[in-house]
């Protein structure tokens, strides 16, 4: 691998029989990321199940229950590398708890692959998956029209999906959508260009993943560094050192620049950006650094260092799109722990504005419950102000999770509007 190679995270979504596992198996297999012992194990199982050849879908099998029931229960992560990039796949199940799992997989993804069966075209689940991809603001969407071998590699099946897609995607906010006709089973347009579809001139899937521009996926304009912890060496050599450790969420920090510390509002200048390798003149997202300031200001975990002329909103009242992730529905007036960047407060759900029917995208203002997999627009109030940006502008400072105080479990994920 080259020094300059980047990391691309993508998620895959499709309904049960769209061939998602086969596609992942194909990517791993054709990019030579499958090892001999894994192949042998899968060949043995394929034979036992009476499969003719290798069942590529078996490469993504995981837990005992999943193997027994032939389904995927939870998000699984897969890895492969090509000479151009390293890839992380968040492989999310097609049916059980699809919303919860897809939201999880999508939260860190640069790209989403949405599978459509060429025979069926865009169906309800396609709309649902595309809506979640748009809600989670995945920068790049790749619609793979799969099973082209079953429609005689006919261009019409491909064009039909594009037409159907454009009809409803105008309501969504995805910057970059591409369409690729493939056969995961036979490998057409996955890694290698298909000889069966000379009418398709664009790049196959893997080449698209290898070359799409992802450097701009992270916000480099609005400088935000949530403080994780304070570093005080208490050694002879660094007696007076007091540094603030954190991962830069967005933007760029430069030595000498004036910064503001929130929520206190004190301003100072960056004295030093310290790393194990030595001091830096500037650092940018998503680097993990230690920053020290010219002035002695009281700063602790949960505070945020920002640039003086570009600050987030400070508010106790937050409107967000909330996805409920837990079997137990939301309790009316209950307080939850809210985690936003490195800040932890308590919050109460004040108002459920509407619930979105993710199949029709219609709003329901009557139903005031929050159940597992529901996506709703809500208003919350926190005990102290949060330093927020809209999720659309800044994924890192626009996202929150809610934790149930009585069970400590993560019950909801929210995107700030």
């Amino acid at each position: 691998m080259l020094e300059t190679n980047q990391l691309l995270r993508f998620t895959t979504a499709g309904s049960v029989d769209d061939g998602k596992s086969t596609l992942i198996g194909r990517l791993l297999y054709d990019s030579k990321s499958i090892f001999e012992d894994q192949l042998e194990a899968v060949e043995t199982t394929s034979r036992r199940k009476g499969f003719d050849g290798v069942d590529l879908a078996l490469f993504t099998d995981g837990l005992k229950d999943e193997r027994e029931q032939g389904i995927t229960i939870d998000v699984a992560y897969r890895y492969f590398t090509t000479p151009k990039r390293k890839f992380i796949i968040a492989d999310t199940p097609g049916h059980i708890q699809y919303t919860r799992n897809m939201v999880t997989g999508a939260s860190t993804a640069n790209a989403a692959i949405i599978l459509v069966d060429a025979r069926n075209g865009v169906i309800e689940q396609t709309r649902r998956h595309s809506f979640i991809a748009s809600l989670l603001h995945i920068p790049h969407l790749i619609v793979c029209i799969n099973k082209m071998d079953l429609v005689d590699y006919d261009e019409k099946a491909y064009s039909r999906v594009i037409d159907q897609f454009e009809e409803f995607s105008s309501k969504m906010m995805v910057k970059d959508i591409r369409f690729i006709p493939i056969s995961a089973l036979n490998g057409d347009n996955v890694v290698n260009r298909s000889e069966n579809m000379p009418w398709f001139q664009d790049a196959p899937l893997l080449h698209t993943l290898e070359t799409m521009h992802i450097s701009s996926d992270i916000n480099k304009v609005d400088t935000r560094m949530p403080v994780q912890t304070v570093i005080r060496p208490q050694s002879e050599e660094f007696r007076d050192f007091r540094g603030f450790a954190g991962r830069i969420a967005s933007g760029i920090l430069r030595v000498g620049e004036e910064v503001l510390v929130l929520p206190s509002g004190f301003s100072s200048r960056i004295k030093e950006i310290t790393t194990f390798e030595g001091s830096l003149d500037e650092a940018y997202a998503p680097m993990s650094v230690v920053v020290s300031l010219e002035d002695d200001i009281d700063i602790s975990r949960g505070d945020m260092i920002v640039r003086s002329n570009n600050v987030p909103e400070m508010s106790q009242d937050v409107t967000l799109m909330l996805c409920w992730l837990h079997n137990n529905p939301a309790k009316p007036r209950a307080k939850y722990i809210i985690r936003h960047t490195t800040n932890e407060q308590r919050a109460v759900i004040k108002e459920i504005i509407h619930k979105i029917n993710i199949n029709t995208l219609e709003r329901n203002t009557e139903d005031k419950t929050l159940n597992m997999n529901d996506i709703s627009k809500v208003k919350i109030r926190t005990t102290r102000p949060l330093m927020i940006d809209s999720y659309r502008d800044n994924r890192a400072t626009g996202s929150v999770i809610l934790i149930d105080e009585s069970t400590n479990e993560t019950v909801a994920a929210g995107m700030i509007i």
Partner: protein, 301 residues
């Protein structure tokens, strides 16, 4: 603006450092599980970077099966001295002597499963609320489902079907008394990434990883080193081979591969051309299709 992006290794490093700092901030008494293998050495190196210029704020915890490569123990002790951190050792032999666990019998007997009890006992005895491990999701199919912050109940058990969803970089380490967490900062790394990182950072690793001559027998499809703990069968043929180890664990079950790679550069090249997974040489994973998942559910690393 094009220069403002990280390459894949820098991004993985930054993510791991973020996770280590979250562990430090969210838990009272975290430790690094240190096996002497390359993954736990990389974790320790990352911890050094995460808290610089302060020293590593975690103790190292080693679960000692009693069946060690002597090289591993020396490496561990040198590292602990160099870093100035505390070392906690949990001894499987002690668990056996106390009757907490019983030794397996037969030619393929190992102390692998016995480590679970010793590990959980050590976690309880030292009030550890988070044990940081070098587990990676590419290693094994059950590990592919692991979270960065992975909850363990008050019996130390993992419930893979009922895990907390983990979104963005918001890690929920909230827990009740008696429960603990496992944290996996290098979840997203592959074996190749680890070697590329060891090479780039010039991290010192035990000599066992480099090709060397050793007395071995051929068992379970790999070269098992001769040691005082290995029960030889009449049919076993002891030979001298130039081998190296891809993983380091209990000496009785860690198999080597034939290799000429005697530098990190050569190892990285060898690994990139490798056609078998690294755990393919671990007989502990070959016992059944779900051997790792079964052990992990009980509280294994």
């Amino acid at each position: 603006m094009s220069k403002y992006y990280l390459n894949y290794l820098d991004e993985l490093e930054s993510e791991a450092i973020f996770v280590l700092r979250e562990v430090w901030a969210q838990f009272e008494n975290p430790v690094i599980l240190f096996s002497g293998g390359k993954d736990s050495i990389v974790i320790t190196h990352l911890a050094k970077k995460a808290f610089y210029p302060a020293k590593i704020p975690f103790a190292l915890m080693h679960v000692d099966t009693g069946h060690n490569f002597p090289e591993t123990i020396k490496f561990r002790d040198d590292l602990v001295k160099d870093l100035g951190v505390k070392l906690i050792v949990g001894c499987v032999q002690k668990s056996i002597d106390q009757g907490r666990v019983a030794e397996e019998k037969g030619k393929n007997a190992t102390r692998n499963t016995l480590q679970i009890t010793t590990l959980l006992d050590a976690i309880e005895e030292h009030n550890v609320d988070c044990a940081i491990g070098g587990g990676r999701r590419d290693e094994e199919k059950a590990r592919a489902k692991e979270r960065f912050f992975s909850h363990r109940d008050d019996f130390g058990q993992w419930d893979p079907k009922n895990q907390r969803p983990e979104l963005w970089n918001l890690f929920n380490g909230n827990h009740f008394q008696g429960e603990h967490f496992r944290a996996f900062p290098i979840s997203n790394w592959t074996e190749m990434d680890v070697w590329n990182y060891v090479q780039r950072e010039k991290i010192e690793i035990p000599t066992l990883y480099f090709a060397h001559e050793r007395k071995v027998i051929w068992r379970n499809e790999s070269w098992i080193p001769i040691s005082e703990y290995l029960q030889l069968q009449e049919t076993d043929e002891v030979v001298v081979k130039k081998i190296r180890f891809r993983t380091l664990g209990d000496i009785t079950i860690t198999g080597g591969i034939e290799s000429e790679a005697d530098t990190v550069e050569k190892i990285a090249m060898e690994v990139s051309a490798m056609r078998k997974t690294e755990r393919g040489n671990r007989s502990d994973d070959k016992r059944s299709e779900t051997a790792m998942e079964d052990r992990k559910r009980q509280g294994y690393f």
